[in-house]
Each structure stands twice: as C-alpha cells, then as structure tokens.
Subunit: 191 residues, 2 copies
C-alpha cells in the first residue's frame, strides 16, 4: 500500500529505497470505517492525511444546521484543516471518511521533523500546496461564475468516476444545493 505513496513522491522528487523507508517511518497507516470522523469541529487538527484508498471529505455545519462540504480527497490527495494544523487553533471543520479508507497519517510534529531531516520533502510539499492552492482558486471562480446546473455538468465532465462513486447527497452538499434539486437536474438529463 505504501507503494502508492512512493509513486506519488517520485512524480515530484527523486528518492532511494533507504530514504523512502526512513521517510515512511514518520507516518502511520490507519484504516477507518465508513463515516468515521478524523476531525471534529472544535478540535485542534493535529494530522495531515494522505489517501491511500478511499475518500475523505471536509465539511462544516452551517447556521441552518446543514453539512456544507467544501472539499473531497480521493487516492493520492492530501487533506487537513491547514489553519488549525499550522496554528494549532480549534477547527471549524469536520474531516470524515465517505467510504472505508486507508490513510497515511502524519502529525504536525512529525512533519516538521521530516522536513528538517529531508529538505527534499520541502520541494514535494511546495508542489503539493501550490497545486492545492491552484485548485482552490479555481473552485472560487466556479462558485462565482457557473450556475448550479453548469457546476454539476462541469464536475460530471471532469470527474466522472468521482461523481459515480460519491453518494448524490454529498455531491449536492459540495455544490451547495439540496439533494432534491440535484435529483431534479439528473431527471432532466435522463429525459
């Protein structure tokens, strides 16, 4: 399973067997059941999560008491609450498994030590954060520019496997509309 992580690292940096084993020793592999909370609102987010298998989602509970999903992470994606993780502040988010998942977990302290010991990991994380930031910028653009329906079509086109795999009510929560509205759009597509 750790080969998935090694392949991902090697997309961005060069690493030998010995170094990889040592890098891996900073992480813990954990299996979580479906709908397990890795982080809850109010807790300090002490870990950074890399998905080996499964799906994570991040959400917050809005003033109406509804879960608003802001991000998903599938295989080889990282997820954490960056503000809580970096500044050791209580989180406003939940991080939850969408299905049974195998996750590579690193604590904030271990990540600091890893970066000190292996400066090449600075490059790896620089690229990871650069890309995550770019996606997040695009998400802001989509929220402002696309109609709800266009947003759904764009997601279907770009991430068809993902739309198949994730329950529809979570897709609705990510797009910011009700499951009923999503169901209507889907009916319109079929007919």
């Amino acid at each position: 399973m750790s080969q998935i992580f090694r392949n991902h690292l090697e997309k961005f940096i060069k690493i030998n067997d010995e170094n990889f084993e040592e890098i891996l020793s900073y992480f813990e592999v954990r299996t979580f059941a479906k709908k397990a909370n890795l982080l809850e609102e109010g807790q300090i987010c002490k870990s950074n999560y890399f998905v080996l298998k499964g799906i994570l989602r991040k959400f917050f509970i809005n003033e109406k008491g509804t879960e608003q999903t802001t991000e998903f992470a599938i295989e080889t994606w990282w997820m954490t609450d960056n503000i809580s993780y970096e500044h050791k502040l209580p989180s406003e988010f939940y991080i939850q498994t969408v299905e049974k998942s195998e996750i590579l977990v690193i604590s904030n302290d271990a990540q600091e030590k890893l970066l000190e010991k292996f400066p090449v990991m600075e490059k790896y994380f620089r690229i990871i954060y650069q890309r995550a930031y770019a996606s997040s910028q695009n998400r802001v653009k989509y929220i402002f520019s696309l109609s709800k329906e266009a947003f759904y079509f764009s997601l279907m086109k770009k991430q068809p496997a993902f739309v198949q795999r994730v329950p529809q009510y979570l897709i609705a929560s990510f797009l910011g509309f009700t499951p009923e509205y999503l169901s209507e759009i889907r009916k319109r597509i079929i007919s």
Copy 2:
C-alpha cells in the same frame, strides 16, 4: 525597497547578505501605474508577482460581462494565476493594479532556476503556498456560510485598513454583489 522582500524571507528562512543579493538577481523590480494590466485573459501567465508597494487584484469577466474579483494582494503578498503559470495554459483571469504599485517580478523559468540553486527557497515557497491555500479554503467557507452583509462586516473587522484603501466598487466585486447593494449596507451602518 528590496529590504521589504528580505524581511519577508527572513520570517521563514535564514539568509546571508551574499545569498540575498544573488536571490534578488532572479527578480526584476517594476513600477506599474494605477489600473495597469499585468495579465489579461487568454495570455499565458509567465510571472509571479510579489507586492513591494501597492495593491493587485485578480478578476475574471463573468457571463454578464461584469468583473468578478477573486483575490487581492497587498504588500508582501504574492499573486499569479497558478494554473496558467505552472502549466503554461492561457489564463481565464486578469491581474491588475488597484493603485500605482512597485512589484517584484520573477518569471517561471527564473523561479525554477532559483529553486534549483537555492533549495532553501523551496521551504519559503512551501510555507507561502501552504498559507495561501489555507486562506483560499477559508474564502470558500465564507462564501458558503456568511450572508452578504455578514461577509462585509467580517472583512471590515479583519482588514479595516484594506477596506479603507480599496475603492468600494472593488470591495463589492470581491464580495460578489453590486456597488448599489454595498452602498445600502453602508448607509444602514451609519444610520
């Protein structure tokens, strides 16, 4: 003026005089008039911009033909269109000065060379992107969770100097509402 950049670097990494001079040689200092376009839709974004003095904003033109501002950068903030910059794709955005600005400009190629020559800059940019990503995640949360009015109040509370400095129609564009609506909210506050 370059001292502003040095102070910023030294918040995150250690650097001596000789190295700083060499690092600086990868950049160009440029002065732009108010409302100058550093990037236009359709162009490939070849530079990364660090604000020494002034303000930049990033916007796109939506289907109604209105400018929708997605980001601002004030002193010591970086701005680029990351997707266009990294993947050499035509940009969907404009980057424009809000006032006369002095900008430290680095090209994509120069930045790659800088990172190779000074691996400590990987750490610097890792932290920069990590924080930019965190802000962007928060922005997504605010868009979904706050009412338009609450969004404006939150911005006023967190960035009062910024709200004073930026023309109101740009604040409106950032918050996703019309200048008229913003004007109404402001009248309500005063009365």
